[in-house]
Amino acid sequence: MQASRARLFKEYKEVQREKVADPDIQLVCDDSNIFKWTALIKGPSETPYEGGVFQLAFSVPEQYPLQPPQVRFLTKIFHPNVHFKTGEICLDILKNAWSPAWTLQSVCRAIIALMAHPEPDSPLNCDSGNLLRSGDVRGFQSMAKMYTRLAAMPKKG
């Protein structure tokens, strides 16, 4: 308990210091609870998510960093490895390949990388996975782009 708190505090300070360094990630800690974080990440360029800003919710367990944080998308996203309704993310480092050397910041980076390189063979969103697996890249991209416009971009007018 004490260890996780100390470590999160350390990460908080690191985030305050590095805010300018990584413009794609904005990590904010809940005002009253250091175990709850939210992050805003920019969709990587040259992907259908480009231009969108996605919100992530972190729930950090008390055994952190021995156990991985629970992360889910709050913003709707059309991606093979993200559950369309719950926002749950299928990513090995958040499950069995977790290592205590990961930080919340590096988890965000890993999620950005996942957005750029989807894994259609272990899908949480079957429709999206099937489009990619059947080779319909164009279909996948236009669907993803549409949802990015709808959910992850500020509404015009």
Partner: protein, 355 residues
């Protein structure tokens, strides 16, 4: 200058101070002409807290005589008061004093008279004469780093130690010099390493390992196969944490959190190493330390250790005999060999069903 037949004895300490209760029956001499035993017994044992301020003489006496220098034996190897007086600072060089001193040593001790041990005694005395330059006491101020009298100091100033920059190397005691140099270098290296280690952060708690609040936490946990730094508590916690579903113990927990290289054990260390050799040294000394501790599982042969031959702890029976392990290799048909585990009768009995 030997005086055969002359009953030279050591001056009685109590008599010298003006009151000896034994009077005529005292086994020590009550004759002012006899020399006093002025050798510092603490110095013989290795350390005299008074250093050069001690009122007794800091000279090395060969072992046999040193043991005889307790007050029950009158013994000859002693410095007459006239000599000790001349050794006060500024009057004579230490070497000259030693020269005179050795001249006195050839006088014959009373307890050896007629005992036929003359050869032995002269041997011992000859020895004490030959090592004389090494008997000179060094100036302890200079050895501690700074002698206020500098060049004018009557005491011997040692040679400068290149590592600690103190004048503490005795010019005539070769083995002592080496010992000091080795120890000093080792200490110096340790300090340097400790300085470098201050900056190193643990990748799990993200804190500087040596800035942790309790002393127990201020230790590194070295992984045998890679060079990533962690606190001992962090890496041990991680390796012993219960694997969550789907987590493979070997690929996740037993591997380095950063590079995922598999390490089978963690080595605690106060300092972080800079080179491969230093790491090896830390690992070796850790293993050697554990090998001197009796294994709790083995329990002097009463128990079985799950680590078997790979155990770092000592597997010895009560009589000090070490466990001898003969590995049984079983050759399989396909040419592979496996090491057979201990097979016990109880294993078969457990499997048997009594109808």
């Amino acid at each position: 200058m030997s005086l055969p037949g002359n009953r030279t004895r050591v001056l009685c300490k109590f008599f010298a101070h003006g009151a000896c209760l034994k009077g005529e029956h005292c086994e020590f001499s009550h004759d002012w002409k006899d020399p006093a035993n002025n050798v510092c017994t603490f110095y013989q044992k290795g350390a005299c807290a008074y250093g050069i301020r001690c009122r007794y003489d800091h000279v090395k006496v060969p072992q046999r005589q040193a043991s005889a220098s307790s007050s029950t034996y009158p013994f000859q190897y002693a410095v007459p008061e006239s000599i000790t007086a001349s050794s006060t600072p500024g009057t004579a060089s230490p070497i000259a004093v030693i020269g005179e001193l050795s001249a006195y040593t050839s006088a014959k001790p009373t307890w050896a008279e007629g005992s036929g041990q003359n050869d032995l005694i002269s041997d011992v005395i000859g020895q004490s004469r030959s090592t004389n330059p090494a008997d000179i006491v060094m100036c302890s101020f200079a050895a501690a780093g700074n002698c206020p009298r500098g060049e004018t100091c009557p005491h011997l100033h040692g040679d400068l130690c290149p590592t600690c920059r103190k004048q503490c190397l005795h010019p005539f005691r070769a083995d002592e010099r080496e010992e000091h140099k080795m120890g000093c270098e080792k200490k110096h290296k340790h300090l340097e390493a400790l300085k470098h280690s201050q900056e190193i952060e643990c990748s799990v708690c993200l804190e500087r390992v040596l800035s942790k609040p309790t002393a127990a936490e201020r230790k590194f946990g070295l992984l045998s196969e890679c060079d990533h730094p962690f606190c001992i508590s962090c890496i041990r916690n991680w390796r012993s944490s219960s694997p969550t579903s789907g987590m493979d113990v070997n690929s996740a927990l037993r591997s380095c959190p950063i590079c995922r290289k598999l390490s089978y054990f963690v080595i605690p260390s106060v300092i972080w190493y800079a080179t491969k050799d230093e790491k090896q040294e830390i690992v070796d000394s850790y293993k050697a330390r554990l090998r001197s501790i009796d294994c709790r599982h083995f329990d002097f042969g009463n128990g079985t250790c799950p680590f078997g031959t790979s155990c770092f702890y000592k597997h010895a029976y009560r009589d000090g005999r070490l466990e001898e392990v003969v590995l049984r290799h079983l050759g399989a048909e396909d040419g592979q060999t496996v090491i057979a585990k201990d097979i016990r009768l109880s294993d078969f009995l457990n499997r048997m069903r009594i109808r």
